[in-house]
């Protein structure tokens, strides 16, 4: 059965779009069929991060308004064929998105894919409300920093009250994804500790994505980090998170870039 997942945060710039692309690609790399939808009307970016910006002809609003068929608007990824994108409109107003229209499209996508992943815009207004409205599962993206944690708390409240599932009295599955994590700064006490963030927000941890240049490099070339540098620290963290989403039990570690170097040093010492 299809799962509708929203990637949300409240605060802007914490890594929602990066996460949507990386988790979407990771699930697709694992054989699942996945569609990622950009809900950031007017500020679309998911197409860029996925390297599909020149292939967008029709977008979410065209489909909602009946100007294009869903099949015309879906863009299939050139690297992973089970991954598709539904872009946001760059020119139209977000008021063109009706709740009824979004609901209809998500219902249609449920029939075709294993995962429907909604990339929420920042804020708690219409765009983010619609992105979470029909979700079964939420990934709350948080940076270990006060304003991000506060906004995540607010978003968790909305997930528990304003989604269709919450209104029907059903369970809304929520997962915390800590991104842009810097272990050295956590150790020096400059960044909130993961355990503190977990205690404050009290939702289960899906993963910890380290701060890494590979993320920027991947978005520069228009490829999700899990495809562009699958062995890099952030890619391994996203691949593990995707496995956890599928119910696998994977030990929680923060992958680091220098692991190979450390290991080889140890070997040298042992030899």
């Amino acid at each position: 059965m299809a799962k509708v997942l929203v990637v949300t945060s409240g605060k802007g710039g914490v890594g929602k779009t990066t996460t949507t692309a990386a988790l979407g690609a990771a699930l697709a790399q694992g054989g699942q069929s996945v569609v990622v939808i950009d809900f950031d009307v007017g500020l679309r970016n998911l197409d860029l991060v996925l390297g599909a910006e020149r292939r967008v002809v029709y977008d979410l609003i065209n489909v909602v308004q009946g100007e294009a068929k869903l099949s015309q608007a879906l863009i299939r990824d050139k690297r992973v064929e089970t991954l598709s994108l539904l872009a946001a409109s760059q020119t139209r107003d977000k008021d063109a998105l009706s709740e009824e229209g979004v609901g209809r499209i998500i219902a249609e996508l449920r029939e075709k894919f294993d995962w429907v992943i909604c990339d929420s815009p920042a804020g708690i207004e219409r765009g983010s409300a619609l992105a979470m409205r029909f979700a079964d599962v939420a990934v709350v993206v948080t940076n270990p920093e006060v304003s991000s944690v506060r906004d995540s708390d607010r978003i968790i409240g909305l997930l528990d009250s304003k989604t269709e599932r919450a209104e029907k009295g059903e369970r809304m599955e929520k997962h915390l994804l800590i991104t842009r994590f810097d272990p050295a700064r956590e150790m020096r006490g400059e960044m909130l500790k993961t355990e503190d963030v977990l205690e404050i927000l009290s939702i289960p941890l899906l993963g910890i994505i380290p701060e890494s240049e590979e993320v920027l490099r991947a978005s520069n070339v228009g490829s999700p980090v899990t495809l562009n540098a699958p062995l890099s620290a952030p890619a391994r963290a996203y691949l593990d998170a995707a496995k956890r989403l599928r119910g696998e039990v994977v030990a929680m570690t923060v992958p680091t870039e220098r692991r190979a170097g450390l290991l080889s040093k140890l070997f040298r010492r042992a030899a």
Binding site: R150, S161, R171, L192, K193
Partner: protein
């Protein structure tokens, strides 16, 4: 530099961030309504029933309707039985 700020500098500013957040969010949650009450009730109801019968977490619905003078809590649980299913509904 006084002693307190000396120690704070050594420990880093993250513990202060944590303490400020805990105070702030306790306040905000109270103002915006108890966010988790329904979610907490669902988990606990599920745990209690799960001690006696097997229930699927998706088959438990807990709904709160807040009214001006009274609020109602509706609990709806589907329990599988050999004959095919028994529905338990509690409203109050």
């Amino acid at each position: 530099m006084n002693l307190l700020s000396f120690f704070q500098r050594r420990r880093g500013s993250a513990p202060i961030a944590r303490d400020r957040l805990q105070v702030l969010l306790a306040h905000e949650r109270a103002v915006l309504g108890q966010r988790d009450l329904v979610a907490i009730l669902r988990e606990e109801i599920l745990a209690v029933i799960g001690r006696h019968v097997r229930v699927d977490s998706d088959k438990v619905r807990v709904k709160m309707d807040r009214g001006a003078s009274i609020s109602t809590l509706e609990v709806d649980i589907e329990i599988p039985t050999a004959e095919g299913g028994l529905k338990l509904a509690i409203a109050g």
